[in-house]
Symmetry: C2
Subunit: 340 residues, 2 copies
């Protein structure tokens, strides 16, 4: 239990300088001669001094804190984005407050309040379904940049945005199944209210319509994107008179659940039916049959988002960046047809 660390003022006394000099020297001000700068910096090092962010932030209004809010960091996609974000921002000396809103707007609202209280400098967010700009107003009001990641708010084009081309993801998956001869295909999983789900439905429906198949709402089996729900949704649709043979799944977990459900009805994925996931987790490769899936680039999105954030902080007046990453289909066994 040692003593409290010295303050700049105490360092100043030891060195016979003024506190102002210490502060300026520490931040490499050209006002200070290089001699005293060095003197100060070596004295600082051996003193055990630690910079007090509360004090600095009070004075300057800059906190070097940003917030990150996702609905579920236990989804590998979000976890890997978060890792990339933390790594890149940490290297730039920025600390990350985390919030797992679980699709609950009030959790995000509480987080936003705390960000304001701490004078955070920005927010990276995948907003919950049906949220409006209202929730983010306290940030906007103070000029704190908001950067959408993965999901965004339709119409809010003034904010930066780093997302996947979600329509393209389901479009490619659907097209693959159509090429393999499937005519009755469904989209499994997801719920309305997020741009991700909406775009995926759009991409899916456009793909089947391009193949001359009529879109109808019951081709989207809405459910939470988890394994058990995917299985349940697929089971329910197998009772239809003319059940589908192709399944585009909202993520890999839903695909695993779907494949299991199909098998309980004696339908073998890759043989009797085709299944495609979105994700690209390690398990997708290991499952039997291995899962055809659309890669969703979490680490890349995270890195670009962190970079966008740093740019925004450095140059607040830059026009908003809207970055959309094209997803890539990885063909394995679960969809049937040639692999690779």
């Amino acid at each position: 239990m040692d003593r409290k660390p010295p303050t700049q003022k105490q360092i100043a006394e030891r060195l016979g300088l003024s506190p102002a000099t210490i502060s300026l020297a520490l931040r490499d001000s050209p006002m200070i001669s290089s001699e005293t700068r060095k003197l100060v910096q070596t004295a600082i090092k051996k003193s055990g001094y630690v910079h007090n962010f509360a004090a600095a932030s009070l004075r300057t209004g800059r906190s070097r804190i940003v917030g990150v809010s996702f609905h579920n960091i236990a989804h590998q996609f979000f976890a890997e984005m978060l890792i990339a974000i933390e790594e890149n921002l940490g290297a730039a000396g920025i600390s990350v407050f985390i919030n797992n809103h679980g699709e609950d707007p009030s959790s995000l609202a509480r987080f936003v309040d705390s960000l304001v209280s701490y004078g955070a400098e920005a927010l990276l967010v995948s907003p919950p379904p049906h949220v409006t700009g209202e929730v983010l107003a306290p940030l906007r009001g103070r000029g704190m940049p908001v950067i959408y990641i993965s999901r965004h708010l339709r119409g809010d084009d003034d904010a930066d945005r780093v997302i996947n081309a979600d329509a393209m993801a389901t479009g490619r998956a659907a097209s693959r199944l159509l090429e393999l001869g499937h005519r009755r295909i469904v989209l499994v999983g997801g719920q309305p209210g997020t741009t991700v789900a909406e775009d995926r439905v759009t991409g899916f429906s456009e793909a089947i319509e391009a193949a001359g198949i009529a879109w109808s709402d019951d081709l989207w089996l809405q459910c939470r994107p988890i394994l058990a729900e995917g299985a349940k949704a697929v089971l329910s649709v197998l009772d239809r008179s003319d059940p589908p043979t192709g399944f585009v799944c909202f993520n890999d977990l839903v695909a695993f659940g779907s494949m299991n459900a199909l098998r309980t009805r004696g339908l073998e994925p890759g043989v009797d039916v085709g299944v495609v996931g979105i994700g690209g987790t390690d398990e997708a490769m290991a499952f039997h049959p291995s899962l055809t899936t659309v890669l969703d680039n979490p680490a890349k999105i995270g890195r670009i988002a962190a970079d966008t954030l740093l740019t925004r902080l450095a140059e607040p007046e830059t026009p908003p960046r809207h970055i959309t990453l094209a997803p890539k289909l990885v063909v394995r066994e679960s969809c049937g047809g040639p692999v690779g």
Copy 2:
């Protein structure tokens, strides 16, 4: 882009009171009459006031910030702990800085420095392998509590600790395989340097010795606990003259990899060989064969750790809590024998 929020001083002027009164009223001091308290609180609400944590923290030395550092939040186990932690601490008005150290002590060290700079109040950590108390010294020196979660530092018994009974986990898994008649069993995955790995080796070796089998180092197939490495490790051991028939895996991912590897050699898990994982992810249930696994309670550990942290902050002098959760074996198909 509205104005900056009002300060307590400004509220005070509007109400014809002193700033001191505002501050005291906001924090329900008994010094203030309930009339003025109410007056202040309603005025605050409609004013758009936001509490400035930098200022408060500068004065009081309390920041309402804690740090959480794990090696890999993309592991479901850690992600779910983190969710539980954030939820419970958030509800108590505490904000969470996150760090993903990736087993790199210098990443943790940098994080520790930033915690000190922000005057964080505690750290929840799973330390990287081979780390000593040295890295945490800057916190200790300032009396900031450290709470170990999942992993801990051997010998540091003054700190709180919330962990799984790791020896028991591998012990139970091994015992199951032994009961089913396997005599040549191995532990797949994990690397020396963490208490988790060491305890798991201990539990495993004690279990097989109790069954009259001699322990030797080559019964532990060290590797990073990911799917591909598990597969590789298992493949390599299958070339031994008298290959094992039982596999206790460091986590579910390693088990998936192991099962796939075994199958490439024509060995069917649950029939020819027995495989047990540790985790209890959704995928474990969905895999074929379904995975026998030891549940590792991430949400529970997270909740208890958050609770321990709050207690520690409220009563710094409480004797350290050392909480160990007993894991539970869930028997499914992959180990062979009766299920359930």
